[in-house]
């Protein structure tokens, strides 16, 4: 076991070299927002899609664009609008008059990194097409099925304050995102720096420092990271506490939770914890990793009751209470 751990440790040191250079490239353009950038990296390393929610002007789109610029991958930005059709996203068959045949015109989804900007502005059929592609990692046009590129990562943004003319994602579809991030405002110092940088003139150019092969290798190392049974049980306890809080000495949460986390929550929590450990250059997962990422994995998977909403108790409040009350191994 000790030799295995040593081997994992060496692999991590080798394969995580890109982390610092990626962070430094992104920080040329994005000031602060370390939380968001780190979670985007976790999504990238654990092959999980990320939903970013925050008020306008918090550099959500800019962060994703910068990340894509720093990676030598095919990037597509899709602006979701009410008139967008599934074919605009996935592609369609076009009739060629010369040959008298139909040829396939692939849509923008055939890329490594997709920015689905303002995903809640498109109707359910478009959202559904995207979310199906996210899960299946393949698209069928006509009678032909096309596998999507690898790596394939969707980073979607949505704005929580505008409700008119939006189509909120159903819970079942939100569940397909590994992480849901709530993006907050920068600090005073950070905002001062942002203001200065944006009023100077042109923004610095981000150089690509990461290749898709590097991401694949890093993913392989992430999957090798050791997760002890104690941690696995801790993860399952957290997810179960969102379903049966009374079994974990949290009976007051019972009337507040309509639906707890699904088994997908346990899977994603374990995967994301491994990626978090990788970013800390550690070959094993600790409770710190689980707690650091727990909120981002669970906040969109816990559905609160009307009673909770009436008392202005959010899913985040419930998850926070669960995380703070489950005994750490």
């Amino acid at each position: 076991m000790e030799q295995d751990m040593q081997a994992i440790h060496e692999k991590i040191q080798k394969e995580s070299i890109f982390v610092d250079s990626l962070f430094s490239e992104i920080s040329k353009v994005i000031i602060g927002q370390t939380y968001m950038i780190e979670r985007l990296m976790i999504g990238l390393l654990s092959n999980g899609h990320v939903l970013l929610e925050g008020v306008p002007g918090l550099a959500k789109t800019m962060a994703v664009k910068t990340l894509s610029s720093a990676i030598q991958t095919k990037f597509q930005r899709i602006q979701f609008t009410p008139d967008l059709l599934p074919a605009d996203l996935l592609g369609t068959q076009i009739y060629e008059r010369k040959d008298g045949k139909f040829t396939v015109k692939k849509g923008p989804i055939f890329a490594n990194l997709i920015l689905a900007d303002e995903i809640n502005r498109s109707p359910a059929k478009v959202q559904s097409a995207l979310l199906e592609a996210m899960m299946e990692r393949q698209v069928t046009i006509g009678e032909t099925t096309f596998p999507l590129d690898d790596p394939f990562l969707v980073l979607a943004t949505q704005n929580p304050i505008e409700q008119e003319g939006t189509y909120p994602l159903p819970e079942a579809q939100v569940d397909r995102f590994m992480l849901k991030l709530n993006i907050g405002y920068p600090s005073k110092e950070e905002e001062l720096e942002i203001m200065r940088m944006n009023t100077k003139g042109a923004l610095p150019v981000v150089q690509p420092v990461l290749k898709p092969e590097t991401i694949k290798k890093a993913r392989a190392v992430v999957s090798e990271i050791y997760i002890d049974e104690k941690i696995e049980r801790y993860i399952v306890d957290i997810v179960f506490a969102t379903r049966n809080p009374e079994d974990y000495n949290l009976p007051d949460l019972k009337p507040l939770i309509a639906y707890g986390g699904s088994p997908r929550a346990s899977i994603y929590l374990a995967q994301a914890s491994k990626a978090h450990a990788f970013l800390r250059r550690r070959g094993y997962v600790t409770p710190e990793d689980v707690r650091a990422i727990g909120m981002d994995v669970l906040r969109h998977r816990v559905i609160v009751t009307y009673e909770a909403e009436a008392e202005e108790i959010s899913a985040e409040d419930v998850v926070r209470k669960v995380l703070n009350n489950i005994e750490v191994p």
Partner: protein, 319 residues
Amino acid sequence: MKKHILLFFMVLWLVSGRTFAQDSSKTNTQPANSAIKLSTQIDRTQVPLNRTVLLRASLTWEGDPDRYEIVDFENPALTNLEIIGTSTSNKTEVTAGKVFTRRDYAFTLKPRELGMGYVEGIIIKYRDPASDKEYSLVTQRISLKVTDPVPEGHAAGHWPVTILYAAIIIIIIGLFWFFLVYKKSKKTGMPIEEVPPIEETYLRSLKEMIDFNKPDLKNDFSQLSKHLRNYLAEKFDLPAIKTTTIELIRIMEEREMEERLISQTKEVLGIADEIKFTGRLGSREELEKIYGSVESILERQLTEAKAALSETDFQDKES
């Protein structure tokens, strides 16, 4: 034949004359098919001279309260009795889909002297708005016997109050006595039962926890870590059970706790965490090291606790 004709006209005159008399006074006796009824009752047939009797006259009819209008209700004419209180009440109830109204007139009567007492008939005049006619209802005479006065039972009636007063006095005396004893014991400096410092308990269970002759290098580290966390939670009210090592150390630093305690806690939990979560077996040297650290923390805290206790005792004696 003439006789018959004369008899016929006499009967006709009598009937028409009666009808005329009713119209003029606008008061009729109760019609045979009327739904309004008057009844009276008294709660006893014999009453001692120094007691009262309750007379109740009840008027009931089918329909809403405004079905009939009570025009006049005279107090009953009494013999050897006098009215000392009156009351009225109305009640409406629905039975089998029908509305019934009940109006009660209650009179509290007091006898005047020994012998017989009488309630003469009660007369109630009412008007039927449907026919716009007035009618009257009369009750029958009721008699009751007035007997010798009964002795007034003051003592018997006040027993519960006396017992209550006695109980209150006993409680007050008891509290006063308790206060005096407490004050006296404080003055004479009676020793208060001492609670042993929790460190003693934790040190005892620490010694029982690890068997260095047969160390369990897989689980002993977890046990030591948990033991220290439990102690920190109990002693310093830290959320040590539900936080990670990094969070716990941060909270200890924020609370500006003793630096040595923080560094030792960091060392113990750090080593234990690494062994717990990497899946590797710890060495005997590592186990001895963190055991020593936990023991050292507990012993030092025990010394401090004892010193603080003796200082408190000294200050108490001084005061």
